[in-house]
């Protein structure tokens, strides 16, 4: 139990997926202009990464390993994730319309998010078992949620600041990401 909690804290905060591993930079910069949209995106990412790391771990354990075709993991994972996101979208639309309303818009945006594939591959490389994979996926996605929501909050305030012209737009957002990354480095002594 303790090991699992440490794993979760490690993936969510210490090795934050965006700020120290640089996965999922695209939505982090693209969909972080407003807190509500950022939170919606973060929620959808939590959902998709948790489900996809579970499915990827299942496939790796029960299909790829017995047939000795682990080398196909990159191809299989990316296709499974793409199909899974489509499937999740259809499922939510049909059976949970309220959840779909809040998360559905963002689901297709996540298909090629490198964080999803990155987590699935990391789970395999680090030889996590099924439970550890799901926890790692969930925690990593929570780290993404944290980062994107904080970023959106800061960006809403930056709107009113007087920024030098060359730094307006993406550049200042990257400076903010740099400062956030320094702040998150402070957690590195935790584990």
């Amino acid at each position: 139990m303790k090991a699992l909690i440490l794993l979760a804290i490690g993936s969510a905060i210490v090795n934050n997926v965006v700020l120290s591993q640089f996965l999922g930079i695209c939505p982090f910069l693209g969909v972080s202009k407003k807190t509500e949209t950022a939170a919606g995106m973060g929620g959808a990412v939590i959902f998709v990464i948790t489900v996809s790391s579970f499915v990827a771990a299942l496939i790796y354990k029960f299909i790829l390993t017995p047939t000795n075709t682990q080398y196909l993991k990159t191809i299989v994972f990316i296709l499974v994730i793409a199909a899974l996101v489509q499937f999740v979208e259809m499922f939510l639309k049909k059976s949970m319309p309220s959840l779909y309303q809040s998360l559905g818009v963002y689901l297709p945006l996540i298909t090629t998010n490198c964080a999803v594939l990155g987590v699935a591959l990391t789970n395999v490389t680090k030889e996590y078992n099924l439970l550890e994979s799901v926890i790692n996926g969930f925690a990593t996605a929570c780290g993404f949620f944290l980062a994107i929501t904080i970023m959106a909050g800061i960006r809403e305030k930056i709107e009113y600041n007087d920024i030098p012209k060359p730094f307006q737009g993406t550049a200042i957002v990257l400076i903010v990401a740099c400062l956030m990354s320094i702040a998150f480095m402070g957690f590195s002594g935790m584990i």
Binding site: I25, P27, A171, L174, A177, M185
Partner: protein, 247 residues
Amino acid sequence: MKKYTERLYNGIIKENPTFVLMLGMCPTLAVTTGAMNGLGMGLSTTVVLVLANLLISAFRKVIPNGVRMPAYIVIVASLVTIVEFIMKAYTQDLAEQLGVYIPLIVVNCIILGRAESYASKNEVLPSIFDGIGMGLGFTLGLTCIGIVREILGAGQLFGHQILSLSWFTPITIFVMAPGAFLVLAVLVAVMNIVRSKMEAKGKPLAKPSGCLTGDCSGCGQADLCTGKSGVQETVAAADPQADKEGK
């Protein structure tokens, strides 16, 4: 022949994926802790890009339009797997350093972007040269950023100590995660100045596309990423500021 040199010039200078188009930012941030890593990542991406362009261009009349994205992804993922195994066999240190970012070449937007916007519409030979140009442009970008970060962060160049530690104190943060964001922020700002200067001269640079700008029009994955047309508008509608700032 001119057509081919034009493709190379286009990829390396005019539409340089790192400096001008601002594509493929995840690997750019992640692997440029040193010049060597940048070079290795750039070259492996180049290999995948050239072969992917070749295959996609060769099969462009066979692949049905409706399933072209999944087909491209299978092609790219297979090539990436091959490159990963070759790197693990011959350049173990580099493969270990780059780690998960090698398989993640699959989701690099430059590759699917070129497949969608060039290779799927053009003959095989120009597509190969387009891949070489874009790949070398990306390599150039990664290596330059890697050189800056390595010199400032460790006083080294390609692993050799060039600034003596007797008087130079390495600014270690440049080889760590925050340094990547900082260097990229400065790069974007410098490019903004260059862009406005070139515009004043009447020679505007190609517009940046890709995730950094939130503009999905130039991205090959836009089709897959947005799933179906309309999602992008929905997000824009839910996010009115995005629309305002985009203009």
